[in-house]
Amino acid sequence: MAKIGQDEWVETAEERTSVDAGLRGRLRHLWANTHPGWRLGAFVLVAAIFPFITSSDFHVRIGVNALLFAILALGLNVTVGWAGVLDLGFVAFYGFGAYAYAFVSSDQFGLHWPTEATILVVVIATAALGFILGQPSRRLSGDYLAIITLFFAQMFVEVTTNLDRIEVGDRTLDITGGPNGIPGLDQFKLFGIQFDEITDYFYLLLAFLVVVAVALYHVDRSRIGRAWNAVREDPLAAEAMTIPVNRVRLLAFMFGAAIAGLSGTVFGAVQQGVFPSNFAVTLLIMIYAALVLGGTGSMSGAILGGIIVVSVPNVLRSPDPASWLFYLAVVGGLILLLRNPVRLLAVAGGVVALGFAIRGIVAGVWPDTVADAALRDSSIADGLFNWVVLLDVSRETAGNIAFIALIVAGLIYTTLDGWRRVAMLVPMIYLGVFAWENRLVFEPSVTKQLLFGAILVILMASRPQGLLGTPRVETT
């Protein structure tokens, strides 16, 4: 029989399976063939142990944050990743959930509702708010909807900042507490269990994550989930295939809102207070970063992205791990860039040689300027100290100059090609390391942002579909 229907996919089938051979391929195979339920179970198991292996509340607090972000990313993934509705007002729902919890669980209005009822009511109320704010998605899509929803996000911050002095007759009403927010929120009390430690919230969030993930997994594999995907892929074709596009979009919007509202209540209780600045646009960017990093459309990706976005900057806060990550990023970036062992060795050798040469010259000519590595409480600095010049004097200026030189070198780099381009990497890496060791290491808050940004850029450049996402083709 003739090969009817032979096409690209079939022709490349063998190739694809052979690519899957190595360790990486085997891991990918294992991942793809493990039921998502097992994956989730394994994650929960590891996460559940986490509070036991650390005795510090600070670490558990980071864990709580990571879980909050994971749940938020899961919610955003429904709206953006599945239904393709670009919702930039997402944080407003998170904020609404938190404030709604504050209204009924503090002395602000003297209300102290039972937690069980509060959570239920808040989730439903946030979904209802999603229904209202999602109305523009009926007429608008893409950029227009993004701008409108971003406006909602901004408005939420404005409203909560200003709803503290409303004149009603001769009385002033304070609803949101204004810029000072609402402090002193009640802790959760669920089914007789009074929450008082951060660990309690950690496990509660873990449970919520499981519930949300399982629910979404089910919806994803139902006609609703398919309708979301269809509407994202091609709304016109979806409409012609019996799908009420507006209603389906709105539903995705409400799902995202409800999940954000749920996270918001827990956030309010964990922080025991809500403030307008908690829900600023920077938070929105972080949630989007989590989603994109993990892989838009993928639930595992959303969870992983949420955890990375919270934990990595925290790791970067202290200089030693930050240095490790910096050098990992340099080496990793280099490997991704060159991919060729010979060139890689050449560049590495060049960098090492250049380092010793400069160090030798500087130490010979101006011996007092070179600092002792013991100055730094960094284990990496020990190993490097014979190589890179660590200055004792005018560190900042030299670091700044190196940084500018690095940018210039980078610009030159883009104009070169062939071996010159590869050779240019040598001074660039040296300058980068020099600037890092002499300047950036001393400013953790700046380096944290810079490094995290760099890691994001490198990851997205090498894996545009995100860590666990599947590549999509453009549909226009």
Binding site: W9, S222, M241, P244
Partner: protein, 262 residues
Amino acid sequence: MEPLLEIRGLSKSFGGLDVIQDLDIVVHQGEIVSAIGPNGAGKTTLFNLISGLYRPDAGDILLDGKSVVGLRPDRIATGGIARTFQTLRVFQNMTVKENVMVAAYGKTKAGSVRAILRTPAQRREEREISRLAEEQLSFFGERLMGYRWNQPAYSLSYANRRRLEIARALATKPRVLLLDEPASGMNPNETLEVTELIGQLREELGVTIFVIEHDMNVVKGISDRVIALDHGVKIADGLYNDVADDPRVIEAYLGSGATTTK
């Protein structure tokens, strides 16, 4: 034969350009009717009007005697008018089977709560949707079967994507199927296959077919009746031989520079 799809005095213009002008068309139950005409004659626009993507300026469109004008496209599709697109519009990043399952939306019920809870009724419905999709795909023989179900639609060949669009339209369980140039971009073998398929769809599913086609061999092979359009006006309506010999039709084709093959 009873009229199933009836178009009366339909008109549509875009910014002063009259694309459809006072058009009357009747398609009877069980018929295969072809629409021909030079490029820009308004054939695709006619389909867009019938399927509710555009709203007519004047006139009426009746399915089984009931007007569908003003209904949302998804309501019209659920009501029994399905279509394919001249420019392929499969859901690229969904699997072949999902593409077809999507189209079952209108005639199924389980909402999000039932989906979350996986109620027995919801699971039964899902199984039914899955079976329906497989059934539609099986119409295309080996081409869209088995291992292909789980491939993303973008990985299919052009011809297979055309087939997938037809399978997807069938999954809405239509009474009238509108096919917009189903053989375009296909090689002679594939074209022949499409011709056979269209006949088969009517035989086995009893679906009424209204098809736009450029390839006169296909038109000749399948049509009970042929309607020729030019500048949004019906210039001929009848048996293939009569329409193909109609001087106005020949004029329209020659005038536009296109050639007809008989």
